[in-house]
C-alpha cells in the first residue's frame, strides 16, 4: 500500500472522527488515521505522510490555521480539506489564500466529503504516477 492512500483527520471531536472512520471501513485500501489534537496530528502527519489531511479550523491550544501553515511546509504535496463550524469570511479568505483543496462547513454532507477525499487521493495519485 502506497503512502497516497492515507487520510489523516485532525479534529477535536471524537465522534466526528468515529463516523468517518466507520465509513472508511468500506475502503480497505485507504488507511484512515484520526487525531484529536493539532500537535499530535502534526506528529502523525510527519510519520505517515498522508495524501489528504482533513483539518478542523477550531481546535484548542493550536488553531487549525497555524497547524495548516506548519503542515503545508512539512508536506507540500499533500491535499488539504479544511472543515469549520463557523463561517467567518475573513478567515475563509485567508485559508483559501494559503492554498487548500476544499472547504467544508459543518454539518458536512458525509457522502460529498468522502467523494472529495477519494477524488483528491486519485488526482494526487494520477499526478504522481502520470
Amino acid at each position: 500500500m502506497s503512502e497516497q492512500y492515507k487520510v489523516l483527520m485532525i479534529e477535536d471531536e471524537t465522534d466526528i472522527i468515529y463516523s468517518l472512520a466507520q465509513v472508511f471501513e468500506n475502503f480497505k485500501h485507504i488507511k484512515f488515521i484520526g487525531s484529536e489534537s493539532a500537535l499530535q496530528g502534526i506528529e502523525l502527519a510527519k510519520a505517515e505522510r498522508p495524501g489528504v489531511i482533513l483539518l478542523d479550523l477550531h481546535m484548542p491550544r493550536m488553531s487549525g490555521e497555524e497547524a495548516l501553515e506548519e503542515l503545508k511546509k512539512l508536506l507540500p504535496e499533500t491535499k488539504f480539506i479544511v472543515m469549520t463550524g463557523w463561517e467567518d469570511g475573513e478567515t475563509k479568505q485567508r485559508i483559501e489564500r494559503m492554498g487548500i483543496d476544499a472547504y467544508f462547513s459543518k454539518p458536512m454532507d458525509l457522502e460529498k466529503l468522502v467523494t472529495k477525499i477519494i477524488s483528491l487521493l486519485m488526482i494526487k495519485n494520477e499526478v504522481k504516477n502520470g
Binding site: 471531536e13 465509513v23 491550544r61 459543518k106 458536512m108
Partner: protein, 666 residues
C-alpha cells in the same frame, strides 16, 4: 412711695420698687441681646448681670441701698441713697451703656436695608428709654433736671411701643403665630356665618318667591355655598395675614433639618428637585423658586423645576455670559443687598430680575457648578433675615450633594440598564462564534453518524457483521447521537439563560464550582482562540453558597473576560475554589501585565477603564465600557461577599471573591 402716708410705708414701697429697678439694666441687656440675636455670644455677660442684680436685690433689704425716704423738692417722698447706692448707679449706667453700644453696633453692622431700619428704630427707642428713665436716678441726690423728671419716663413708654411694633412687624417672638391663627379662624368663622346668613336671606327673600323650596333645602344650599367658599377664603386669609401682618417665622435650623431629611434619601432626580423647592417654598414662604441643573454633557444648564415663574424653558450655555459671570463671582448672590445688586454685571442681573429672583445660590460639587438654586422674594415682601442668609451656604451644600447623588444614580441606573443590554449583545457576539462551533460540532456528529450508517448499509458493509456486532454498532451510534443532542441542547440552554437575566434579587443554593464551570464554558472558545490556558483547582466537598447563580456566573464571566483582555494573547488563568473559614473563596489569577497600586481602588469605579476603546471599535462592547468590575463588585456586595485584589505590575493580577458559605449541608 411717693404718695405713701408715712416714711415707714414709703420706705417699704421704695424697697419694693427698687427690687424691680435693680433688674432693669439686666433685663434691658438681655432683651437687647435677644433682639439683635447675640445671646449666645454674650451669655457670660448676661449671667454676670443677673448675678449683680441678685446681689443688689439682697442688699436692697439692708440700709445699704435705701436708708430711708424723705421729701425731695419735686416729689413728696423719695429714696435716701445708702452706701451701696452709688455702686448700683454705676452698675446701672454701665450695663445700660453697654446695651446701647451693642444696639449701635448691630445697627452699624446690619447687612440688609430692612435690618438696618429695624435696628435703627430699636436703637432710637433704647436711647429714649435710657435717657428718659435715667432722670429718676438723679432724684435721690436731690438733683432736679427740668423736663426730665415728669416727662422722661414717657421715653420708657415710647420704647415699649416701638419695640412692640418691631416685634409684630419685624417678626420677633412667637406671638405672631397665635395672633395669626386667631385672625384666620375668626375670618373663616365670620365668612361661613355670613355666607349662610346671606344665602338664607336671599333665598327667603327672592328665590322662595319663584321656587317654593323648604327651609331645610335652603339651609343645605347655604352650607354648601359656605363650604365651597371655605378653601379659597382660607387661602386668601392666610395669604393676607402673611402679607400684611406677619411673615411666618421659622428657625433656619428647622429649615435645614427639614431639607436634609426630605432630600438626602431621595434618588429620583425629579423628585429631589421638587422636594427642595417645596420645602423652601413652605418654610420661607417664597413667591417663586427655580432649580437649574447642568446637563449630563456638562454644556448647558436648564430649568429642572420651578414655581411662580412663567418661562420654564430657559437654557444657559456653560460658555454663555450668565454662567461665566456666576462662576467668576463664585458666591451666593443677594439682590436685596442694593450694594451687591448694583455691582452685579447685567449678564447676571438680567435673567435673575426677569424671574423676580432675589437670591441666587450656585451649587458646586468639587468646584464644578452642577446647578443653581434661585429664590424669589417672600410673599410677605420681607427681606431675608441674616439667619436665613447665613444658612444658605449649608442649604447649597446639601442641595448640591442631593442633586449630584440623584444625578449619578440616574446616570448609573440608565447606564446599568444600557450596559446590561450591551453586555448581553456583546456576550452574544462574543459567544456566537463559539456557540456556532459548539452547536455545529454536535450537529456534525449526528449527521455524520446517521449518514455513516446509511452509507455503510448501502455499501453492504454490515452484511459481513454478525447480528450481535450490528446491534452493538447501532446502539453505540445511537448513544453518540443522543450525547450530541444533549450537548447542543446544553449550549442553547446556557445561551438563553445568559440572555434573560432575572431582574429581581434571586437567591438559590448552588455550588460555586458549577458557576465557575459555566462561566468558563462561555469563554472556552474565546480563550482557545487566544491560546489562553485555564488551570482549574477545586477543593472537594465544598459547601454551597446562597446567591443568584446567574449573577455569580456573570461575575466570573466578567473577570475572565477582563483577564483575557489583560493578557491579550497567550497566558494562563488559574482558577481556584476553596473554603476559607465561613466563606467560599473563588480565586482567578492571570498572567497579565498587572494593575498599578494607584489604580487599585479606581478599577471598581463605574466608567473607569484602561482598555483602549478607540483601537478596536468593533470589538465587543464589554471591553472598555468601564462597568464590568463595577458590576462585579455590586453583585458580590449584594450577596454579602467581598473582593480582594492582589496585583503586581509585570506579574499578573489575582481577584479573590469571597462569598458566605451556606451553613446547610451541601
Amino acid at each position: 412711695m411717693v404718695l405713701a402716708p408715712n416714711a415707714e410705708a414709703g420706705l417699704l414701697a421704695d424697697r419694693i420698687s427698687l427690687m424691680g429697678i435693680v433688674f432693669i439694666p439686666t433685663a434691658f441687656l438681655h432683651f437687647t441681646l435677644a433682639f439683635i440675636g447675640q445671646i449666645k455670644k454674650r451669655i457670660k455677660l448676661i449671667y454676670f448681670a443677673y448675678g449683680m442684680s441678685i446681689l443688689f436685690a439682697i442688699a436692697n433689704w439692708t440700709p445699704l441701698m435705701a436708708v430711708s425716704v424723705s421729701r425731695k423738692h419735686f416729689v413728696p417722698l423719695f429714696t435716701d441713697p445708702g452706701n451701696l447706692y452709688p455702686f448700683f448707679l454705676m452698675f446701672f449706667a454701665s450695663i445700660m451703656t453697654l446695651s446701647l453700644v451693642f444696639s449701635w453696633k448691630a445697627y452699624r453692622d446690619a447687612k440688609t436695608q430692612s435690618k438696618k431700619i429695624t435696628n435703627f428704630y430699636f436703637l432710637l427707642a433704647a436711647f429714649l428709654a435710657t435717657a428718659g428713665g435715667s432722670g429718676n436716678f438723679f432724684a435721690p441726690y436731690d438733683i432736679f433736671l427740668p423736663f426730665m423728671i415728669p416727662y422722661g419716663s414717657y421715653g420708657v413708654v415710647l420704647y415699649a411701643i416701638i419695640t412692640g411694633y418691631l416685634i409684630v412687624k419685624r417678626r420677633f417672638l412667637d406671638i405672631e403665630l397665635i395672633v395669626k391663627k386667631t385672625l384666620v379662624f375668626t375670618g373663616l368663622f365670620g365668612m361661613a356665618m355670613a355666607v349662610i346668613a346671606i344665602v338664607t336671606e336671599l333665598s327667603n327673600g327672592i328665590v322662595a318667591k319663584f321656587f317654593p323650596v323648604s327651609s331645610l333645602v335652603e339651609r343645605a344650599f347655604s352650607i354648601l355655598a359656605a363650604l365651597l367658599l371655605y378653601e379659597p377664603t382660607k387661602e386668601f386669609l392666610v395669604r393676607a395675614t402673611d402679607r400684611y401682618l406677619f411673615q411666618k417665622k421659622e428657625d433656619v435650623r428647622v429649615i435645614l433639618n427639614k431639607l436634609s431629611q426630605n432630600i438626602i434619601t431621595i434618588l429620583d432626580i425629579e423628585k429631589v428637585g421638587t422636594t427642595i423647592l417645596e420645602t423652601l417654598k413652605d418654610s420661607l414662604r417664597l413667591e417663586s423658586g427655580i432649580i437649574l441643573i447642568q446637563d449630563e454633557d456638562g454644556k448647558t444648564y436648564e430649568i429642572m423645576d420651578s414655581f411662580g415663574i412663567q418661562n420654564k424653558r430657559e437654557r444657559f450655555l456653560k460658555d454663555g455670559s450668565f454662567i461665566r459671570c456666576l462662576l467668576e463671582s463664585d458666591k451666593i448672590l443677594n439682590l436685596e443687598d442694593s450694594q451687591q445688586k448694583e455691582s452685579l454685571p447685567s449678564a447676571i442681573r438680567g435673567p435673575l430680575e426677569s424671574w423676580g429672583a432675589v437670591i441666587c445660590i450656585p451649587l458646586f460639587i468639587h468646584r464644578e457648578l452642577i446647578g443653581l438654586l434661585v429664590l424669589g422674594k417672600k410673599k410677605s415682601d420681607q427681606e431675608f433675615s441674616d439667619d436665613e442668609l447665613d444658612c444658605f451656604p449649608a442649604v447649597a451644600g446639601q442641595v448640591a450633594i442631593a442633586l449630584s447623588n440623584a444625578r449619578l444614580y440616574h446616570i448609573l441606573m440608565r447606564s446599568q440598564a444600557d450596559f446590561a443590554q450591551q453586555a448581553k449583545m456583546a456576550a452574544i457576539g462574543t459567544l456566537s462564534a463559539g456557540i456556532s462551533h459548539e452547536i455545529k460540532n454536535p450537529l456534525q456528529v449526528i449527521r455524520g453518524i446517521v449518514e455513516m450508517l446509511r452509507f455503510n448499509k448501502k455499501s453492504g458493509l454490515y452484511k459481513e457483521y454478525t447480528k450481535e456486532q450490528y446491534e452493538e454498532l447501532i446502539s453505540e451510534a445511537l448513544v453518540r447521537v443522543l450525547d450530541a443532542v444533549n450537548r447542543a441542547t446544553g449550549v442553547i440552554d446556557r445561551l438563553s439563560s445568559f440572555a434573560k437575566k432575572p431582574k429581581e434579587l434571586k437567591t438559590e443554593l448552588f455550588s460555586i464550582e458549577q458557576a465557575m464551570d459555566d462561566a468558563l464554558n462561555m469563554v472556552t472558545y474565546e480563550f482557545e482562540q487566544n491560546q489562553i490556558v485555564v488551570k482549574k483547582d477545586y477543593a472537594a466537598n465544598l459547601p454551597k453558597v446562597l446567591a443568584d447563580q446567574h449573577a455569580i456566573e456573570e461575575v466570573f464571566f466578567n473577570l475572565l473576560i477582563n483577564a483575557r483582555h489583560a493578557m491579550v494573547e497567550k497566558g494562563i488563568i488559574s482558577v481556584q475554589v476553596r473554603q476559607q473559614g465561613n466563606e467560599i473563596e473563588a480565586l482567578l489569577r492571570d498572567t497579565g501585565p498587572g494593575i498599578p497600586k494607584e489604580n487599585f481602588e479606581k478599577i471598581f469605579d463605574p466608567f473607569f477603564t484602561t482598555k483602549d476603546t478607540s483601537r478596536n471599535p468593533d470589538d465587543n462592547a464589554i471591553k472598555g465600557s468601564g462597568l464590568g468590575l463595577f458590576l462585579v463588585r455590586e453583585i458580590v456586595k449584594r450577596y454579602s461577599g467581598r473582593i480582594v485584589l492582589e496585583s503586581e505590575v509585570g506579574k499578573g493580577t489575582t481577584f479573590h471573591i469571597f462569598l458566605p458559605a451556606s451553613p446547610m449541608p451541601s
